[in-house]
């Protein structure tokens, strides 16, 4: 980074801005910050963003013109800066034209499918399991969530909850270099209360669909005796199953895939506490 700081091509310009200008600008900036924070409490709806942006632009131009001497430098500097801002504006304008006008011609093509699909899935999951783990929100989803019912197509038949993957396609993969070797962990202290919660989670999160508890090999490796076990990764490196590997495999399953198992594990909304509870349950068998 420091290479181009030796730009001796810049030349000297001996314009010394009087001290009073600096203090005036500094004062103005403080006042404007106070104004922005104060205005934010009143709710003007969409105009809120506009006002905030306006004030921010005033502050920014103050800093740029006086503190950064744009006012006194030769015109080329401010030209470059404006040229840059022009391209930023282009990037904004065209991307937002696309995002805003997606649903104009055919309302189905708008971005809302996502929310309906997820709402449907959450509703389905809510019905399927009465004793909802804490992760699902308290209120029942359906009524007050604005699922627009206008002329859109009849809401799609909610697909079944994540079905176990179809015949897993085992394609050859190389993985990034394996995690560094960790010292083997001591035996796992099982806390019976957590194990109980883990049992319910093991079912509701459909871990059972791919991981057996009795040692038999399914779509995924078995959970029996997994704690502290040395697992061989697809690219030959070994990893000791510990807290970090356990969490990571749940959060980003495809990061380290065990040898001759397909990278078929989906990303599931599981929190750290829940993962730990399942760990206790698995170790309590």
């Amino acid at each position: 980074m420091s290479a181009e700081h030796t730009a001796h091509g810049e030349g000297h310009h001996h314009h010394i801005t009087p001290l009073s200008h600096y203090f005036a600008v500094f004062g103005a900036l403080l006042v404007l910050t106070a104004v922005t924070v104060w205005i934010a409490q009143f709710h003007f709806g969409a105009a809120n963003t506009l006002i905030a942006m306006l004030v921010a632009t005033i502050k920014a131009s103050l800093v740029a013109l006086i503190f950064m001497h744009l006012l006194y430098d030769d015109r080329l500097n401010s030209l470059t800066f404006l040229f840059g801002l022009l391209f930023v504006a282009l990037f904004f304008i065209f991307t937002l034209t696309d995002v805003y006008t997606r649903g104009f011609i055919d309302p189905v093509r708008d971005n809302h499918y996502l929310r309906d699909e997820q709402v449907a899935q959450l509703k389905l999951a809510a019905e399927a399991q009465q004793d909802l783990p804490a992760q699902y929100p308290k209120k029942t989803i359906g009524e007050d969530y604005p699922v627009a019912e206008d002329e859109r197509v009849n809401p799609p038949a909610p697909p079944p909850p994540p079905a176990p993957p179809a015949a897993p396609a085992t394609d050859a993969e190389g993985n990034v270099i394996a995690a560094p070797e960790e010292a083997p962990k001591p035996a796992f202290a099982v806390d019976p209360a957590k194990a109980e919660q883990g049992k319910a989670l093991f079912a509701s999160k459909t871990c059972a669909a791919c991981h057996s508890l009795d040692g038999s090999k399914l779509v995924g490796p078995t959970m029996k005796g997994i704690w502290g076990r040395k697992e061989v990764m697809a690219d030959g490196s070994e990893v000791i199953v510990d807290q970090a590997y356990w969490l990571e495999s749940i959060k980003t399953p495809n990061a380290k895939v065990v040898k001759d198992f397909p990278p078929a594990m989906p990303v599931l909304p599981v929190s750290d506490e829940e993962a730990e509870a399942i760990l206790h349950y698995v170790n309590s068998l």
């Binding site: 079944p160 015949a167 396609a169 399914l218």
Partner: protein
């Protein structure tokens, strides 16, 4: 040059009503390009031949470097031509993508390396889209995993199936026939095998609904078709065929056996039990197994379930 219904040198046959408009635009631009290409290359070859340097110190005969009239013409003429093409192109695009009201609607879902077609009455076909001829058909595209793209060259339509939202495409097939479907957005290992067929049926044949009952592909017995579905639809992940106990009970020797059910009296495995377990798996769960099986209602129609049951019967 323009391809009628049998397809010319450049373009495949015109399967849909909108294809004609696209081909017209294609030919206009094509002949324009040929004209300009011949003009420019001809000029280059002619100048090179005419002004070839004979002797080493032969100098250029003219040093003219500027001719406002010529420069003006070759800036504005292409500009006007290009605006005409733009306008025509946008109009064709709108005809090609905005579906008329009351079109027959099919939900198309792309997933890693196969296309599923869900009809309004719930029938689901994989790899085959049955549509009526001479009726507008609107496709509601979405994807389960990555971006795929639904491309039917004969109808000149292509639309990405984006996961997480719907995109639409429409066509009106002119006559009964079969048209090839490609996936044109790179989606992994078998991107080139993610093919499907659009089977256009006559009005009567379509309404008769014989196509609804999916039938085994030609030359394949019902049981073999069941085996093929066993692999494709996902049973293989939890039910083995060699007797080993996976997430679910093994299919080997399952048919006709007595199974102990959790919390209910044991039951003899027959067609009804298998059909019920496929449609509503939580109803009867065999002892010692987790309630992990998802329901296949809406994914498998009766013909497919019969085929799978036939296949299970063969596993002694």
């Amino acid at each position: 040059m323009a391809s009628g219904s049998e397809g010319g040198f450049w373009l495949p046959p015109q399967g849909s009503t909108a294809a004609g408009g696209v081909d017209g635009l294609f030919d206009f631009i094509y002949w324009l390009n040929v004209f300009f290409f011949v003009l420019i290359t001809g000029a280059v070859v002619y100048f090179v031949m005419k002004y070839k340097r004979k002797s080493d110190d032969q100098l250029a005969t003219s040093q003219v470097g500027h001719n406002t009239l010529m420069e003006a013409t070759w800036t504005f003429v292409p500009l006007i031509l290009v605006i005409v093409i733009f306008a025509w192109g946008f109009r064709t695009y709108l005809n090609l993508t905005v579906a008329p009201e009351g079109a027959y609607q099919v939900k198309v879902t792309g997933q890693k390396w196969s296309w599923n077609f869900t009809h309004p009455d719930g029938t689901v076909n994989t790899g085959e889209l049955h549509v009526p001829a001479n009726r507008p058909v609107k496709l509601l595209l979405s994807s389960r995993d990555v971006i795929h793209s639904f491309f039917v060259p004969d109808f000149r339509i292509k639309q990405d199936a984006v996961p997480g939202r719907y995109t639409t495409a429409w066509f009106q097939a002119k006559a009964a026939g079969e048209h090839q479907v490609f996936c044109t957005e790179y989606c992994g290992k078998d991107h080139s095998a993610m093919l499907a067929k659009v089977l256009v049926l006559s009005e009567e044949e379509f309404d008769a609904g014989k196509w609804k009952v999916s039938k085994p592909p030609e030359g394949m017995s019902v049981a073999d078709w069941g085996g093929d579905l066993y692999n494709k639809v996902g049973c293989k992940a939890c039910h083995s065929v060699d007797g080993s106990k996976l997430v679910g009970p093994s299919f080997k020797g399952l048919f006709g056996r007595e199974e102990k059910i959790q919390g209910q009296d044991p039951v003899m495995v027959d067609e009804n039990y298998l059909r019920e377990s496929i449609m509503d798996p939580q109803a009867k769960i065999v002892e010692g197994f987790a309630p992990a099986m998802p329901s296949y209602k809406g994914q498998l129609d009766d013909a497919k379930i019969d085929a799978i049951i036939e296949y299970i019967k063969t596993l002694k």
